[in-house]
Symmetry: C2
Subunit: 312 residues, 2 copies
């Protein structure tokens, strides 16, 4: 790549789906001169080395963070505080610490107190992903045409914010700056609660005595299988999301349940108009998402039977 | 096609997504000699004629059903009783009436009483579809590698059941015979409740004052957009599903809500193990659905940005 690198040394702490996609995008697009990777998992380190995702692969996050200009935390939210405390002494003045976590108030709460003066915190959240996990699951185009939300804390260094913005824009993302608390509310409804109810219905189905698991699997094309896709996402990451965005998730979940009980009542009393009106309104939102380029209009329910084969 | 037709005259009452896919599959695979179509909508009739989905297109369902060997009801469940009463005098002895509805006890309740002696009722449910509607949305391969569930009432004619089985098998479906009541229970959890909660969360999101609709649309890639796909399905069809499978839907919905309240409590009290254990269990079910060929393992969350364009 002939582009001038945006950073000299990028440290990626945690080389899972997102971390490895950041590594691939940064390398492919020539965004940095050097990539140092750290991961607590021996298997992940081996995969990262074999796939040549970076120039260095460390077990110790501080070794990767040493002398880095941009340190990207790509670990489950629950690990942020310990990682921040551990790498802090290795950070050089002027370094920028960022992350990719799904809850931003918790990230600031857990990372900021550990950072030495002169190190800048610019939390970020690329709204992108797949239901697969690990270094092998990542790919360079994951962030293209997706939003990345930055949530700098009050008083954040403006140049550091611009630098992180430029990094994500160069990955193909559309970048937005948002207040951390508002981010957590928006993501609670667009991501966290959808995941929770997907996990929940798959669990409910698995527990039934009247319908066998074999039947649930066979007839899943009726709608259920779309929920299983979401419910196959990384368990550790998602446990930490719910533990770290409690307030907003409980608020949105309360509204969801309230609305669902009202629908249940409409079914019990045969109120067809209530159902019809809701089902018509929701169609318009689908249309808007497609128009916004965040989805394709291809009829994905009728997935190609040829593609319906296991990879395993 | 060189195959011997299975039926002489096929009448399709209702030429929407499913009806038009049946027409296309029957024609492409040479399953019938003649296709007669009826639809109450002028627009649908025009589309059906223009797309040459059949040999005849009628406004009056009785005209299509006259002399037909197989009459396939492809109308919303709420229309079945009136259509059955209307076409009954036109049905010839030995004719088979079938359908494609998502609730089978209601179909038997609504259609059977109207049929003259010597006409056989073999209700069916192809577990396939897309989020699009209308004659233009159908395609011949929709039923390939999908299940079709037949629910013959007690005492049904065995040869008629075999004939309908052969029809769906020739459309590429895997065919299963099931007791109507059990079908309604299985589909409540694999299809009806998933649709209801998808419609519900899209409605909840639309009603928020703290998060704008624009934000919901922009950041929908975090999980929400997968629900909007389901929540874009045909409103009339789905209203009728909930009104006609009330008992099983309310039973499954009760379990879903109970489980969700337990998860909500786990979040409130920070019980990470409860969340982690559920999230791990649900991954295994996803794997089983892929292994069963009902889904592809491709990481669909990371939908191709190139495909993320509006068709409209």
């Amino acid at each position: 790549m002939s582009r001038q690198p945006l950073f000299d040394r990028l440290a990626i702490i945690g080389i899972g789906l997102i971390g490895s996609s950041v590594a691939r995008a940064a390398r492919e697009r020539g965004l940095v001169r050097q990539i140092a990777i750290a991961d607590a998992s021996e298997q992940h380190r081996q995969d990262a080395a074999r796939l040549q995702l970076g120039d260095e692969v460390h077990a110790d996050a501080a070794e990767a963070a040493r002398d880095a200009d941009l340190i990207m935390f790509c670990v489950p939210l629950g690990a942020n505080a310990a990682v921040a405390a551990h790498v802090a002494p290795a950070l050089k003045p002027g370094a920028i610490v960022s992350d990719v976590g799904s809850c931003k108030q918790a990230v600031i709460r857990d990372i900021a107190p550990h950072l030495p003066a002169g190190v800048h915190l610019v939390p970020g959240h690329p709204v992108a992903g797949t239901e697969h996990s690990g270094p092998k699951a990542g790919f360079a185009s994951l962030f293209e045409n997706r939003w990345c939300i930055l949530t700098p804390p009050p008083g954040a260094d403006a140049r550091a914010v611009e630098a992180v913005k430029a990094f994500w824009a160069a990955c193909g993302s559309k970048v937005e700056v948002m207040e951390p608390r508002h981010h957590d509310l928006v993501l609670a409804i667009t991501s966290h609660v959808p995941h929770l109810i997907a996990y929940n219905i798959v669990g409910t189905a698995d527990d039934l005595e009247t319908v066998t698991e074999g039947e649930v699997i066979k007839y899943s094309a009726g709608g259920f299988r779309d929920f299983t896709r979401i419910a196959a996402s990384d368990p550790t990451m998602w446990r930490d999301v719910f533990l770290n965005n409690k307030e907003a998730v409980l608020e949105m979940l309360g509204r969801f349940t309230e609305d669902l009980i009202a629908l249940q009542r409409a079914i019990r009393w045969g109120e067809g108009d209530t159902l019809f009106n809701l089902f018509t309104r929701t169609r318009a939102i689908r249309r808007a998402i497609i128009d916004a380029g965040q989805e394709t209009a291809a009829p994905d329910f009728g997935r190609s039977p040829a593609a319906g084969k296991s990879e395993g």
